[in-house]
Structure formats: C-alpha cells, structure tokens
Amino acid sequence: MKKILRLLRALFYTGNTNVENMQGSGFQWLVKSVAKSENIDISDSQLTKEREYFNTNPAFINFIVGIWIKELPSAEGPDYWKRVYSSAFAAVGDSLFYHSYRVFCFLVAALLGLYSPVIGLLTYLILYNVLYFLFLYKGYDIGFKYGKNIIGWFNMLRINEWGQWLDIASVFLLGILLLMLAGINNFYSYWHYSLGSLMLFAGIVFAKLLNATIFFIIGIISLALILFLGGL
C-alpha cells in the first residue's frame, strides 16, 4: 500500500511547477510524506530547505527520494546527492522518455491503430506507462537500497544505450508505418507514390532549415493550392 501511495503522490508532485523553485514544493511534499510513513526524524530546518530549487524527470523522482533518505546520515549530506542525481536523471529521463521511448511507443501504437484505433490507443498508453509506472513503483526501494551508488545500478542496466536502440527501432517502424499508411488508404498509383516521395523528401530537407510550424503552414498552403489548381 505504501508503494502505491508513493506512486500516486509522484504523479502529482509537479503540481506546483514554477520558474522559482521548479518542482521544489513537490520534492518537499514527497520527503515529508515518506518521513511520516517510515517514522524518520527530519528536522524542520532541513525540511524547509527542501522547498528550494529542484528539477528532474518525473519518472525518476522516487529514485531521488530513496537516495535522499538513505544519504541523510552521510558526511556530504542528502542534498549533495540530490543535486548530483536530479540533474543527471533530468538529462537521462528527458532523453529516454520524451525523446526516444515516446516516439517508439507512438509508432508501434500508430501501426496497430491503422487496423484498430482503440488497440492503438491502448498500446500507446500501456506500453509507455508500464515503464513509467515501474520506475515510480520501484524507484524508492532501489534508490534507498543503492543510495549514492545508484549510478552503478543504472550502468548495469546500460540505460544510456536504451535511447539509441529505441531510435533504431523507431526509424525502421517509421518506414513501415508510412508505406502502410499509404497502402491501407489505397494510395497505390504512381501519382500517389510521386507525391508521397516529394513530401517525404521536402520534410527531410526542410527539417534542417525551417521551424516545424512554419514548414507545416507552408505545407498546408501548398496542399490547398494543389487542391485548388487540381480542381478537387
């Protein structure tokens, strides 16, 4: 039950996100609740300090809370390790969850969604949240077990390489998705393949040069012109 409550709290700890202390209020709230449930004595001055600036990736928050509790008696103090790991997990987490894993989950979901949108929806939510919830559910225990040495545990899992493998899989899935997207809608003619290739080529070239919104607007207007000139 304690683990489930920790997971639920971790889902909301970013509720006071602001530019002043980022997620500091949430971190203080989590530390306070763990101290209460585990009967750990933390001074008021220490707790007040925890409301200061703090930022990490939400999926890794419970690891940091676990490390913080474990390192309370350490010579460097828990805040030193909190600072070290919050920035490291922010970088790893944003890159893994928002950059690579989300794209991979989406492409898998989109492929299945071509046949059944509901299956696609469920796949997207389940595939992504299984890992996210697992991190939130087990994070505190693992963080508490390894403390400041948690980097060894993550290195053992080679978490830095996950993104690369997911990106490789995503490139492959993107190719499958585009062709299936055209095929399933019966866009089989030379005209369709030529237009599709032109669109893809323009996307690849302009991705380097133009902001996505500007390019998207140009794309919409160009297609509207094709619609108008083609008399469709």
């Binding site: 949108p117 991705a207 919409i220």
Partner: protein, 211 residues
C-alpha cells in the same frame, strides 16, 4: 457526452504540464478518445496521427514551453468528430487558423506557472496545498480554454460554410501532410545517417510487402 468531453479537456491540460505525465495529453490519445465519444473514430484517428507527428518532435526539456498540440488535437478532433468539418478546404483552413491560435493558448501555461509562483512566495500554505491548487488550476485551464477553442472553431466553420465549399474527403490530405512531417521525425531520431536511411528504406520495403 458533453461532460466527458469537457472533463477530457481538463485532464489533458493537467497531464500536459502540471501532473500525471501519462501521455493523456498526447494528440493521438485525445483524438481517439474524442472519436470514441463522438462515434467518428475513422476520421479523428487521422487527425490524431497528423498532429502527433507535428507535436512529437517538440521535446519537453526543463522550463521550455512546448507547442500546444493538445489544444490543437482537441479542437480539430471535436470539430471533425461532431461533423462540423467534412470537406478538405475546411479541414486545411481550421488547421491553419488553430496552428496560430495555439500559441496564445500555450502561453497561458506561463500564467499558471506565475500563479504557482505567487502561491509559493506570497502565501504560507503547505506544499501539499499549493500542489493541489496548482493541479486544480491546470484542470480549470483545460475545462475553460479547450471547449472555448471548439466554440470559436464552430463559429469559423459556420461563417465559411456559407461562403466556400471545396473538396471532399480530407483523409488524403491528412495522410500526405503526415508524410510531410515524417521528415522531421526522421531527423529527430539519433541514428548514424547512413544506417538511418538504409533502415528506413528496409522499413518502407517491409511496409510495401505487408500491404
């Protein structure tokens, strides 16, 4: 149906930048849920696919505000789901207009963050209370702004419907705009260039074999 749709706006807004972070604010998710609620899944799926391709390349890092793709997906899917958008011209026009409206709507996230800062600095409320207030503000933002966007969309559609009527099924354009944006997704993925394009071509070939 109205209450679930309004609540969906609130939850999506909360998930987007304040709490949960469970992908409930992703365009693909929003559009399919709206499609289920409006019984028009086929078309809203393609709307979600297109806007997800547009939004997924914008990676959330630190305090940076990402594009309000949730709002865009919510309004567009609802207009499509409820049958306000049926022809291609209207689809492209509404997409174009809401790509611009999306920016001031996205800026309200700054306002909510400033209010969060106010509650942190100017009140003596406990962390749990300011987190609750922040989360509620996120929900209220979605409950007000997302349906408001829909009503603005309805007004625009009603105005242009009487003046212009172009094209039939917009799925064709939605698919080709998705292909257009896929170049950006391909660029986002970090794989050595030569391997990337070989893998991508193998994927295309496999896709061709499947269909």
């Amino acid at each position: 149906m109205t209450i679930p749709l309004i609540l969906l706006g609130g939850i999506a807004s909360l998930d987007r930048f304040l709490a949960l972070h469970m992908l409930l604010s992703r365009p693909f998710v929003i559009s399919i849920i709206v499609g289920l609620l409006t019984s028009n899944l086929t078309y809203t799926f393609y709307v979600g696919l297109l806007i997800e391709f547009y939004g997924i390349i914008d990676v959330q890092v630190g305090t940076r505000l990402t594009r309000e793709d949730t709002f865009l997906a919510y309004v567009l899917s609802l207009l499509v789901g409820l049958g306000y958008i049926t022809d291609t011209f209207m689809f492209l026009l509404i997409l174009l207009i809401f790509l611009i409206i999306m920016y001031p709507v996205g800026y309200t996230e700054v306002f909510v963050r400033d209010l969060n800062k106010f509650f942190l600095k100017r009140t003596k409320l406990t962390s749990s209370k300011i987190i609750l207030i922040g989360s509620l503000m996120g929900i209220v933002r979605g409950i007000i702004l997302y349906p408001l966007g829909f009503f603005i969309g309805v007004e625009i559609v009603s105005y242009f419907q009487n003046h212009v009527h172009w094209g039939g099924n917009f799925k064709f354009y939605s698919v080709f705009l998705t292909i257009l944006l896929s170049g950006y997704v391909l660029r986002l993925l970090v794989v050595k260039s030569s391997y990337k394009y070989i893998l991508f071509l193998i994927g295309l070939f496999l896709g061709w074999l499947i269909v």
